[in-house]
Assembly symmetry: C2
Homo-oligomer: 216 residues x 2
């Protein structure tokens, strides 16, 4: 199909698609001549994936590019994809010592040790450099500085529930043969399911709050 047809079928404007091509989110089409290119259903799928990641999940264009790049790069190696590539997709990766405030509860290196100890205690096999470890440590440091500290003991039951959630996630990948299909599904489930899980948690919170106050 032509670029204009790709645009019509995806609901994404031609200029925006050109922008994604420029930014390397979408691979170029098969060039038929200097002024003609053909796109296939893979492009349409990819485009829908891009819109879901940026729109529904709210990822930035550059994060989306990195994610899609990791998808191509580690084809067949679902470990690297789950553990490293999808490891941290928060707002900021906070690289380097940026000189935090003097008084603000000493940068969470203590939390990093706590996280490593937790992972150890759980018996999890997780790469030492997994970015999610850092994300977790940062969040704990932040919670502590706000006066709501969570130690290993408090975190452990959450971790056990995360374990079971992850098992459900991996179950969803069963029965898929094609490797690239598995990889894409893994990305979709890991990243796009996040808003759904958070929404479920909020609904459950409201319910639980209602149940506990029912005695009043």
């Amino acid at each position: 199909m032509r670029l204009s047809e790709l645009s019509r079928r995806s609901g994404v404007s031609v200029t925006t698609i050109k922008y994604y091509l420029r930014e390397g989110l979408l691979p170029p089409g098969r060039q038929l001549s200097a002024t003609q290119a053909e796109y296939d259903d893979d492009h349409l799928r990819r485009l829908r994936l891009i819109r879901a990641l940026t729109g529904v999940r709210g990822l930035s264009v550059s994060t989306t590019r990195d994610l899609l790049g990791a998808l191509e790069e580690h084809t067949g190696d679902i470990h690297l994809l789950l553990g490293l590539s999808l490891g941290s997709i928060g707002p900021a990766a906070s690289a380097g010592p940026a000189g935090e405030p003097a008084d603000a509860a000493s940068e969470g290196s203590a939390e990093r040790a706590e996280v490593d100890k937790l992972v150890d205690e759980l018996g999890w096999v997780v790469h030492k450099g997994a970015p999610a470890r850092t994300t977790l440590a940062e969040t704990l440091a932040s919670l502590r500085s706000l006066g709501a500290p969570l130690d290993r003991r408090a975190l452990l039951p959450y971790a056990r529930l995360a374990e079971r959630t992850a098992a459900l996630d991996l179950d969803q990948l069963e029965g898929l043969d094609d490797s690239s299909e598995v990889m894409e599904r893994a990305l979709v489930l890991t990243v796009l399911l996040e808003p759904a899980l958070l929404a479920l948690r909020r609904l459950a919170q409201e319910n639980e709050s209602a149940r506990r106050h029912a005695d009043g």
Copy 2:
């Protein structure tokens, strides 16, 4: 304390604090004269909370303002806070019929019904207009259009785990007396724990993936 001291103690620049005051994220200090104002520890706490919400969690300034506003408004009514105010803090609230693409898997009104049915099946007591219902429905619609549909049956075990997560969350609020303290703690735990829970899930995914591939 003075504005400059508040700045020094929080690590946030004076201009940025002024910006937050302008935007209504931080309440004004006690005005001593036309050119003198005093801030207390509440301001410092609030400021740290703002930085945590925008920095760690990545919320926008306007979302943060809404959240903090809800905190003041519903003091004492933890229901409204959990169910309605914190209901949807995703990237976009998608208000109104914005004319989605022609071909893109018919806007998820079917998903909305599915969500309502799920909540019903679970026996959850949740406000009909809870924004998290919409968030959930949108995510499901998006997953379906990407060829990875999750129906009620697949979602149910996730919901049961969310239930237990919410119970842990509410446990954290036990033993707190002061109402405004409970409210702030609820907000912090609901919103700031999110990155931590997602990080735990990703670590657990890597572990589970390693476990399942251990036979190879």
